[in-house]
């Protein structure tokens, strides 16, 4: 499914929103999920961070959604996948009951042990997502048309998507390996799953996005069809006015009313706005060239995201064809 197809985003089963911390993943995930629900899809948006970030933008002032989740808007459910809750659910199913599991999970030492142990969080989280994708309603059709995942910020090294592959290669037969295999199949199915990287148009994020995309596409085999470049500052003045800063600098200091900013101050403000716009354009191009992918530019919103209306504004841009 190419990026220019109308259903390139909404026609997926699973969209995983990824990127470095601070790039706006939660905003993009929430915006996509909200737009999809308004287009008539049944959508689940899931986050995994410590603390809840979806509710403050999707439904400001409302209570946290937790592991059970809740319908925040018609057709839009949100949940927070807590790895311990997911593991307790999974082990409870395996053991045929929750009494023992809950007791062990309350044990401080056990929790410390699990907190220190690597890899299982990512696996159980992906397992939960896979399970949600498989879930069917009473009539046999999928419970959710689209699942949007606000993935953890990428750091150095292993990302949470690497884990199933590692498990499959390192682990002997068993239910978890089978599950890991199923999860890997879902991730690599380019018609069902899409990775949506979010970047800022700045030097470091631009380069990291390129590294991320290459790794995801080549090592993991997940479909990536575009990059979302966030917080783009607009051109500060119309075309043909690029000479504004220079013209202003040519004026005498006292050319304007005393209460009004001087020509030099105006020139500095114009230069700054022009330079930031230029910087963003440049790095947006760098991202497109280095990844070989079209991009979707989202505008800088000075006031931030105050609620669903701001998300809807961004949603329009998100669903448009990337360039």
């Amino acid at each position: 499914m190419a990026a220019d197809q109308p259903d390139a985003l909404l026609g997926r089963r699973l969209v995983i929103v990824t990127g470095k911390g601070g790039t706006g993943k939660t905003t993009v995930a929430a915006s996509l999920a909200l737009s999809a629900s308004r287009a008539g899809r049944r959508v689940l948006v899931a986050e995994m961070a410590r603390g809840e970030h979806l509710v403050p933008v999707l439904a400001p002032g409302e209570a946290p959604v937790g592991y059970d989740g809740r319908e925040l808007h018609p057709g839009l459910w949100a949940m927070r996948i807590d790895p311990f809750a997911a593991l307790a659910e999974y082990l409870g199913l395996q053991l045929g009951g929750r009494v023992v599991v809950d007791r062990v999970f309350r044990n401080q030492a056990f929790r410390q042990l699990m907190t220190a142990s690597p890899g299982w969080r990512e696996l159980i989280t992906l397992g939960k997502i896979w399970h949600l994708e498989q879930m069917a309603g009473a009539d046999g059709s999928p419970l959710y048309d689209l699942i949007v995942v606000d993935a953890p910020a990428t750091g150095h090294g292993v990302t949470f998507l690497d884990v199933p592959r590692v498990v499959v290669s390192a682990v002997q037969a068993g239910p978890l390996r089978r599950h890991a295999g199923g999860v890997e199949d879902l991730i690599r199915d380019t018609s069902r799953t899409l990775l949506l990287p979010v970047a800022l148009a700045e030097e470091l994020p631009a380069r990291e996005t390129q590294e991320l995309v290459v790794r995801m596409r080549d090592d993991i085999g997940i479909a990536v069809d575009r990059v979302v470049v966030n917080a783009i500052m607009p051109a500060p003045f119309p075309e043909g006015c690029d000479d504004l800063p220079d013209r202003l600098r040519e004026l005498a200091d006292d050319a304007l009313p005393a209460s009004f900013p001087s020509p030099r101050v105006l020139a500095e403000c114009s230069s700054y706005l022009a330079a930031r716009h230029e910087l963003h354009s440049h790095y947006s191009d760098v991202i497109a060239e280095s990844t070989g992918l079209p991009r979707t530019a989202l505008p800088y919103l000075p006031e931030g995201i105050r609620g669903p209306d701001d998300l809807a504004r961004l949603g329009e841009a998100l669903l448009a064809e990337p360039v």
Partner: protein, 406 residues
Amino acid sequence: MTGPNSARPASRLVTDRRIVVCVGTGGVGKTTIAAAIALEAARRGRRSLVLTIDPARRLADALGVESLGNEPREVAGDRREALGIPEDGQLSAMMLDMKRTFDDLVHRFADGPEAVERILENRIYQHVSDALAGSAEYAAMEKVYEMCQSGAYDLIVVDTPPSQHALDFLEAPERLLEFLDSRLVQVLLHPAFAAGRFGFRLFQRTTQRVLQIFERVSGVSFLEDISEFLLAFEGMSEGFRERATRVRTLLMGADSAFVLVAAPSREAARGARAFLDDLERSKVPLVGIVANRMRLWPGSEDGSAPQFSPDMLSAGRAAIEDALIGSANAPVAPAHAATLAQAAADVATGYASLVNLDLENTQLLEQYAIRRGAFYQRIGELHKDVHDLAGLRTVGAQLFGEERGS
């Protein structure tokens, strides 16, 4: 001209302290601020080191830390002159290699070469040094301590790993140690352990049942790895704990200072306020707040922008138009002058609203600093990202109050 400007309280950071820790959420420019502080100390004749976690490549190149194996590199030669570093001053930089730092610790504390080998090859350990929450912070603290003990530096500036919680830098190592603590081993492990027997019987029954299921369905030799890891680490934990305690004492002592770096976007400002709550509770020595990447109104004392009334705007616009048309050097055609004048007026109001927004978002931070007697310094966002030493100088000039261009 490097006029002393000790009127700026931020100056005491570079003159009086041995350790400065820069905390803050991701993307606010901590690395740049940390490097600028270290540079200023060097300019004042001190031997300084900036410990970075994740520098942008060009800045890393500029500092010369690109391909290092966890060792400091000194900024040398004609770059010293360009930066105004006097003979007795020194600026060094290094990038933290977490894995290496942990391995070094294992070599230091494990009971002999066999134990070292066992730990380094243990699968759980291999993950611990990069995946475990708190390991980056632990490694950073460890490196700070080591560099401090070496006596080679008068000031060490630490760029902490990006995190959502202010106290991760201090608390994560604590949490890590709790896991390694031998008391934990005793709680989890059966008394039969003392007899040196391995296997499922090691664990208390309920824990054992759950872990057995986990192991059966995961197919991972989880229990064996964990047991071996705990066994191996038991010998080390005393050493680890003692050292971590000393590091913490050092960081909370009179020679150390914490600086919160914040940015004015809504998200970043909110993150900074959350940080302040945490820092307050923990009695961490916060000496100042740097509000970085601010849009500032040029020439304004308090940084605020003018208020533009409709009359003022139209009078201003008309004046610009006239001035452009009537300009002696380079007169502008009337139609173009009108367009330019409108553009200028839009720039004025547009930029002013950004300036006011940034001030609004950071107001609570400023008030906090005033209340607590901490310094508060705004740094204007530059036209380009800081990617070289000249950029660092510009930031430093704003932070420490010198004239621009000196």
